[in-house]
Symmetry: C2
Subunit: 179 residues, 2 copies
């Protein structure tokens, strides 16, 4: 089987990196704790006067490179790589790609090793990529095609209202993906 | 239909950029003119004492960003984008990704416009990407799957010995791709 792994919110802890940076750069501003996040895009949930601050953090050099791994994700990646499945990292860069694109490769090299950078697929349209499963925290995932993969929704506070998808996380994944 | 366009050797003139840089940096060394190139990888055709020089040029900052467009390619892209087909740029970055990855996006933005960067798919394995046609100068194109696309071989001097593929170039493409 071919398993596609999304990166932000599945391997790299985008929300944790964003919250920590926001708190440290703007301690006087109200922030939204991770468990209180209810929308996929943080800047849409923050007060209007913080939206540009959120964007500035995400677009700044070093943001993607310095994201912490999601707890359990690196161990799951290494276990999956030892299985009979083919693994790829399928990630959509920001439209403002300047730092994001290179730093995603650097992040994978740092946390998983150089060989894993060969598994990377960068695309705005994941429906074009063949796979049996796509593990992704975003919903819905749109594109030009009907995908071949089943979207397993990686559970995060901001997607808890999504209905009708099988959910996965790095604690329960072994029961979701056949050996 | 979904048409996947390779980048180096199809949109961006990798061989021309390499030859011009080699001549200017190493005027004392023998070089191989474009029409005399017979192997896909230039460093394998150059004399042993020039192979590292070739690699150094390709890995240097600015190499990918400064490649000239293949004659006719930008016009063909714009014409295809006006057609009913879906177009994507499907390109494999160097394993030494440091400059190549970002510069490929910059090249597309410069020569085709920012909106085209959304059409980019970076992957080492193109067999995973769904399409009806892949226009690519490399042969063979290997990966984990049997591709859905027909590989139309973009004709270049270094692939002229390849047999059994339909060939395309930016002069004859209209007869190869249905309206």
């Amino acid at each position: 089987m071919i398993i596609l792994l999304d990166m932000d919110g599945v391997l790299a802890d985008f929300e944790m990196g964003l919250l920590q940076t926001f708190k440290s750069k703007h301690p006087e501003k109200p922030c939204i704790e991770l468990q209180d996040r209810t929308q996929f895009y943080a800047h849409l949930q923050y007060p209007p006067d913080s939206r540009q601050l959120i964007q500035d953090i995400v677009y700044a050099p070093g943001f993607f490179r310095n994201l912490p791994p999601i707890p359990g994700a690196m161990e799951a990646c290494r276990a999956l790589a030892q299985s009979r499945h083919e693994l790829f990292i399928c990630t959509s860069p920001l439209s403002k790609y300047e730092h994001c694109v290179l730093e995603k490769y650097q992040w994978v090299e740092e946390h998983l090793g150089m060989a894993w950078t060969r598994r990377m697929i960068l695309t705005k349209d994941k429906t074009l990529v063949h796979g049996d499963f796509l593990i992704d925290d975003k919903f819905p995932i749109k594109g030009v095609r009907t995908p071949t993969w089943e979207h397993l929704l990686y559970s995060q506070p901001y997607n808890r209202s999504v209905q009708g998808k099988r959910r996965i996380n790095w604690q329960n994944w072994r029961s979701m993906i056949p050996d």
